[in-house]
């Protein structure tokens, strides 16, 4: 809990000392060592890949570690990474991966097939290790290194996901010392040599709430990136993030808010890039918190166990208004949990979508027996277990996200309109993770970034991925709605074995249909990733997927490996320098604001000082 407060205070301090800059890139791209500085608003929650869940943490993992295969840059097709080739037996049950030879860890130790086997076996046999990676290995029966270059995996049944195993390969010589118990609170913070990995960069330094600094991995097996230093600076305020980009303290700004993004229009040397993204935000319900064995936990409101209530709420939320007002139009209204970016897999409810209709929502609630009490708040139906209990829901939003807080405010307003009381509360993401795991919530606002392979996202709704108990304490698993449905689980198992993409897509869509109908989530919107970068300094960004996907925070490290400083030749092409005229208007507006605000405060301050000086010396203290 102390984090948001302290970081907010830090933001104020930062603002007070504006010309600060830790990035060092401000001195220009022609430094001896090329430094590329990314500004982002979310700190890494943990550098331990078994623990972290936020997207910025995953960005560090994939920069620092490799996976067997990668998602291609243009279209997410599987391509070689640590495994340079693979073969599958005719019965589809045995997969043989050939690991690149001569690969070294960043500390100089050789990386062999044994490290791969170690990592997979650790995940498969672990409990805590299953949380983040369990969905990738469920179908695997055994993993074995037959020699230094060969890994053989046997699967229980033919599987479509064997080229999308997003398990970060860890160095056995480091991780074997961290046993199953230690791993739960292992932070994996970098030592003097950084975090040992095989990815293109090595995390060298992490100052919580301030920055993460990576250096190019000189032992990297692939083509070495042009960037030598890669810094992620954390901003607690978007205005300061945008200002840092304008001033050139950072080279790239990720995940901007729509107002700030639009204010960068015409800024000199800055290119805006509203990327189509694979993320969505949702309002999630506690549909009956329980452990994976079915033991109820938490204190969720009983009304939310009723699908009819959740559907009624779906009708009461105006997703189009959210896109317009909260995202400034940079997104699309949400429906199912696989975003339309993955058009082959996305389920579109079409005519059966829950249209925004408060009257219909009220009718559904009336019909289900949740009638309004004398104070205008609906109560549980008579005759039930909790008869007469008010429909009063706790709704949690995230302190670090303005989008989240705004969404919460809107949803609270709409629910009040249909006679449901809402108690909104804003908490830090860390606190929210804990609250969700324990099931002590009714509703919350958060989001997911969805992988090209749908398996992981779909696994977050299986019975087995509800929280679990280990040695007396409850641990959160992937499920945050505690949704549990037999039919859904059966389909989940089925899609895991469907090799034919079209057939599998059918199953995946059917699963989304069930989710849409059962409504453990109201998917509010698919947001665009609003990015902006210093195009006068760096070029070579590669969107994933082509042509307008994300430039950074992709599946894989494509852009980081292709970004390069702008050369004189690029400048001669004359792409830059045409946008300066418009910038003056914006910045003069800014200056006026700053001057007026500053002037007002100064005047107030002067009056206070004057008063203070007039004060008789002996009157107080």
């Amino acid at each position: 809990m102390p984090r948001p407060a302290l970081s907010a205070a830090a933001a104020v301090v930062l603002l007070a000392l504006l010309p600060l800059g830790t990035g060092g890139s401000a001195t220009g791209a022609e430094d001896e060592r090329t430094t590329f500085t990314v500004g982002m608003s979310q700190d890494v929650d943990s550098l331990n890949p078994f623990t972290g869940i936020v997207s910025s943490a995953y960005e560090m993992y994939q920069l620092n570690y490799d996976t067997l295969t990668d998602y291609g840059q243009a279209d997410f097709a599987a391509e070689p990474s640590l495994a340079e080739s693979w073969e599958v037996s005719d019965d589809g049950l045995t997969w043989t991966y050939t690991i690149r030879s001569g690969v070294l860890w960043s500390d100089g130790e050789p990386l062999t097939a044994r490290d791969v086997a170690y990592t997979f076996n650790r995940v498969m046999k672990g409990k805590y290790e299953q949380t983040n990676f369990g969905s990738y290995v469920g179908q695997i029966a055994s993993v074995e290194a037959t020699d230094d270059q060969t890994v053989v995996m046997r699967v229980k049944a033919p599987s479509p996901t064997m080229l999308h195993l997003f398990v970060y390969i860890l160095p056995e010589h480091i991780w074997r010392d961290i046993d199953a118990k230690d791993v739960t609170d292992f932070t994996n913070e970098p030592g003097p040599d950084g975090i040992v990995g095989s990815g293109p960069f090595v995390v060298k330094e992490h100052k919580k709430g301030q920055f993460i600094r990576l250096e190019r991995n000189e032992n990297y097996w692939g083509e070495k990136p042009a960037i030598q230093n890669l810094v992620f600076r954390i901003f607690t305020n978007e205005d300061s993030l945008a200002q840092a980009l304008r001033r050139g303290e950072i080279d790239f700004a990720d995940d901007l808010g729509s107002n700030v993004f639009e204010s960068l229009e015409g800024a000199e040397g800055v290119t805006q890039f509203p990327a189509t993204y694979s993320g969505f935000d949702e309002i999630a319900f506690n549909v009956g918190a329980a452990l994976d064995d079915g033991t109820p936990i938490g204190d969720g409101h009983p009304a939310l166990k009723d699908q009819r209530v959740r559907v009624a709420i779906s009708h009461a939320i105006d997703t189009e208004a959210l896109v317009e007002r909260v995202l400034g139009g940079h997104g699309t209204p949400g429906t199912s949990v696989i975003p339309p970016l993955y058009q082959d897999l996305h389920y579109d409810p079409g005519a059966s979508a829950y249209a925004f209709d408060p009257a219909e929502a009220a009718r559904l609630l009336d019909e289900a027996g949740y009638t309004e009490g004398p104070d205008g708040i609906r109560t549980m139906p008579a005759g039930g277990e909790d008869a007469g209990r008010k429909l009063s829901f706790r709704l949690l939003g995230r302190a670090s996200s303005q989008t989240s807080q705004q969404s919460v405010q809107f949803v609270a307003g709409w629910l009040e309109d249909i006679g449901i009381e809402v108690k909104p509360k804003i908490v830090s993401e860390d606190a929210l993770t804990e609250i969700i795991g324990e099931g002590t919530f009714d509703m919350f606002e958060w989001g997911w970034v969805v992988e090209p392979d749908p398996d992981y996202q779909l696994s977050t709704f299986t019975c087995a991925n509800r929280s679990y108990k280990d040695g007396g304490s409850v641990f959160a698993n992937l499920s945050d709605s505690f949704f549990c449905d037999e039919e859904y689980d059966a389909l989940y198992a089925q899609q895991k074995e469907q090799i034919d993409p079209a057939e599998r897509a059918g199953t995946v869509k059917e699963m989304q249909r069930i989710l849409y109908e059962q409504a453990p989530y109201v998917v509010t919107f698919y947001y665009d990733n609003l990015e902006a970068y210093r195009s006068d300094r760096f070029t070579g960004f590669t969107p994933q997927p082509e042509p307008d996907g994300s430039l950074l925070f992709q599946y894989g490290t494509h852009s980081y490996r292709s970004i390069r400083p702008v050369t004189a030749e690029d400048r001669a092409d004359g792409k830059e320098g045409t946008k300066a005229a418009d910038d003056d208007a914006t910045s003069s507006g800014l200056l006026t604001t700053a001057a007026v605000v500053g002037g007002g405060l100064l005047a107030g301050g002067l009056v206070l000082v004057a008063l203070r000086r007039r004060r008789p010396e002996h009157d107080v203290e």
């Binding site: 204010s263 809107f410 800014l590 203290e621």
Partner: protein, 306 residues
């Protein structure tokens, strides 16, 4: 003290005498206050804010605060329809500012009451009881006085969670030591006066001495100090809300500034969202300070001797 000696005057009971004396003294104070133009100006500004707070629901319906009912665009500049423009959700900034007055005043006054009660209790007790108990209370005051206010308030607000009540409590329990100091000094001077010695000799207990003799004598000081503390409490509320430690769903000037800051109003050049709450804070703090100063001049005999 026999009535016979004042034959011309009507016969009055002791209570009536006291009341008449108080009325006369209040009249004197008011005349003294009226002679200070800055104090009157402060009082006028304060009056406007109080009226705004009281009649806010008549000026703007509470629906105008609901984001779901908002009709304006995102960060629209001032127009005939929205004289102070709109916020990031399309609500009228003018309506928010007017409603924000309520929270600022409520927090300011309520926190001050807490702070005054604690400060007066501790101050009188530490002045009255010498020795260990008094010393301990004085050390406690000193201790609270040296803790930097903002970090303590932030830590407390974080632990207690964000709600209006908690903000009041946090400000209340962190801003009392100044008052306690002041009250203690006055208590010591009152205690040295002969009539207290007389009360003691006649067998007046601690409670009697403190409530009947010391308290009435320190009250004017406390009152003057109160008006000054309100100003500080309002500023603190704004600060805490701006840092995101207030109740994010209740409109106050601090939370408006917080939202403006978080939603990119600065980059967007939306001065109409930042200035009004900021200027209101300045105005109300100034008004309270002016009134407080004037009151102090009237009520504090030492300040008047100048």
């Amino acid at each position: 003290m026999s009535v016979d000696q004042e034959r011309d005057a009507p016969v009055l009971s002791a209570r009536q005498v006291t009341r008449a004396r108080r009325r006369a003294s209040a009249g004197r104070s008011w005349r003294a206050f009226r002679s200070q133009r800055t104090g009157l100006a402060g009082l006028a500004v304060l009056g406007v804010f109080v009226l705004l707070a009281v009649f806010a629901p008549l000026l703007f319906s509470p629906d105008e605060l609901k984001v779901t009912e908002a009709l304006g665009g995102v960060l629209d500049p001032p127009s005939a329809r929205f004289p102070l423009g709109t916020d990031e959700s399309g609500r009228s900034v003018l309506a928010l500012v007017v409603w924000g007055t309520r929270v600022s005043l409520v927090v300011g006054v309520a926190a001050t009451v807490i702070s005054m009660v604690i400060g007066t209790l501790v101050g009188i007790a530490s002045g009255h009881f010498g020795g260990m108990a008094g010393g301990a209370l004085e050390r406690l005051t000193d201790w609270f006085l040296v803790i930097p206010f903002l970090p303590l308030a932030i830590a407390l607000a974080t632990v207690l969670g964000s709600s209006l009540l908690n903000v009041i409590v946090v400000i209340g329990v962190t801003s009392w030591p100044g008052t306690a100091r002041l009250v203690r000094a006055q208590t010591l001077s009152v205690e040295a006066r002969p009539y207290l010695e007389r009360a003691r000799v006649l067998g007046g207990g601690h409670w009697h001495q403190m409530t009947r003799h010391v308290l009435p004598n320190v009250m004017p000081l406390v009152l003057a100090n109160t008006t000054l503390t309100v100003a500080i409490a309002i500023l603190s509320e704004t600060t805490l809300s701006f840092l995101g430690l207030g109740d994010p769903f209740r409109v106050s000037w601090g939370s408006m500034l917080d939202n403006a800051f978080a939603s990119g109003a600065i980059s967007s050049g939306a001065w109409w969202y930042l200035l009004p709450p900021g200027l209101c804070v300045v105005a109300i703090v100034l008004a309270f300070t002016l009134v407080g100063r004037a009151l102090e001049n009237v009520l504090d005999p030492r300040a008047r001797e100048r």
